[in-house]
Symmetry: C2
Subunit: 155 residues, 2 copies
DNA sequence: TATTGTTATACTCTATAACTATA
DNA sequence: TATAGTTATAGAGTATAACAATA
């Protein structure tokens, strides 16, 4: 405990009413806490949320190249390099040079990558269920729909 | 336009259905687009969202010290230093050494800081109204409530 | 000429440890 | 001994320009 005897002069909490009336502040706060919860269920030596996204998208799009992945995930092409490097060094995916167009490298999960992704998806569903438990199923569904609507309308 | 003649072979969009079924991915995407919209209404030479938060909180809590602000805004104490430095260098706020406890510096907006904050709040309301127009007033209100509920329940 | 993957660079954010001056 | 502000450092994320290989 920070203040077991209650002896220290505790600063009163500040007035945050303006920020708390904004969606921008609320979504940033919620996003940080949601990511913290994802890292909690993933455990220490797992992967970053960005790496998880790559694994999940590669699994459903085997053979996609790095540019396609960067575009789909909304990251810059140069960012894909260390992202893929880290996953390749862990033996979770491989870069396969294309024989059709030798500028391309097709990305594919290894069996080990498939196994880890499967475990991570199970743990992710624990996190997602926690969110649904907090909000209730219908509000969770409404939240997801609103977030998706914002993403399509604001881009 | 990227492809005016439609002549280039366009890669088909990747399958993102798994990620799009998750709240974590949707909230990250929406948050980035919302922040981009805030920067759009703020204009080029305005302030960062973090700096805006500091200005808004200092305005409602004049004389708060840097530790209180860091705690309230959820940033580490060392982060406050360059944040406040930048705003002080622009003449938007001042550090006033406390005469009661000489370790403290009370932060206060200058008249120029008040004026800029007032302009930024007006522009922010344009952004927030854009979100309400997209979602509709009742869904916007529901979204805000759900985000706040998540923030309190997950922390 | 244009594109893929890459390197290099710079700036921000985040997290931590440790210092100083004060209490 | 503890706290406020600061410095220093290292890691991750983001953005941009430019290069080599290839088309």
């Amino acid at each position: 405990m920070a203040d077991p005897q209650g002896a220290r002069a505790v600063s009163p909490a500040l007035d945050l009413s303006y920020l708390e009336s904004t969606i921008g502040y609320a979504i940033r706060r919620a996003q940080l806490l949601i990511f913290a919860d994802i890292y909690r269920v993933f455990g220490e030596d797992a992967v970053t949320t960005a790496q998880f996204s790559v694994l999940a998208v590669v699994a459903d799009n085997p053979g996609a190249n790095q540019s396609d992945l960067a575009l789909a995930l909304g990251v810059e092409r140069p960012r894909m390099v260390p992202l893929i490097d880290a996953l390749e060094e862990r033996g979770l995916l491989v870069r396969i040079p294309s024989i059709v167009d030798r500028r391309h490298r097709h990305i594919q999960l290894t069996p080990e990558g498939e196994r880890l992704l499967s475990r991570l998806k199970q743990r992710f569903s624990v996190h997602q269920q926690r969110l649904i438990d907090v909000l209730g199923p219908s509000d969770a569904e409404r939240l997801l729909r609103s977030l998706r609507l914002l993403a399509t309308a604001m881009s």
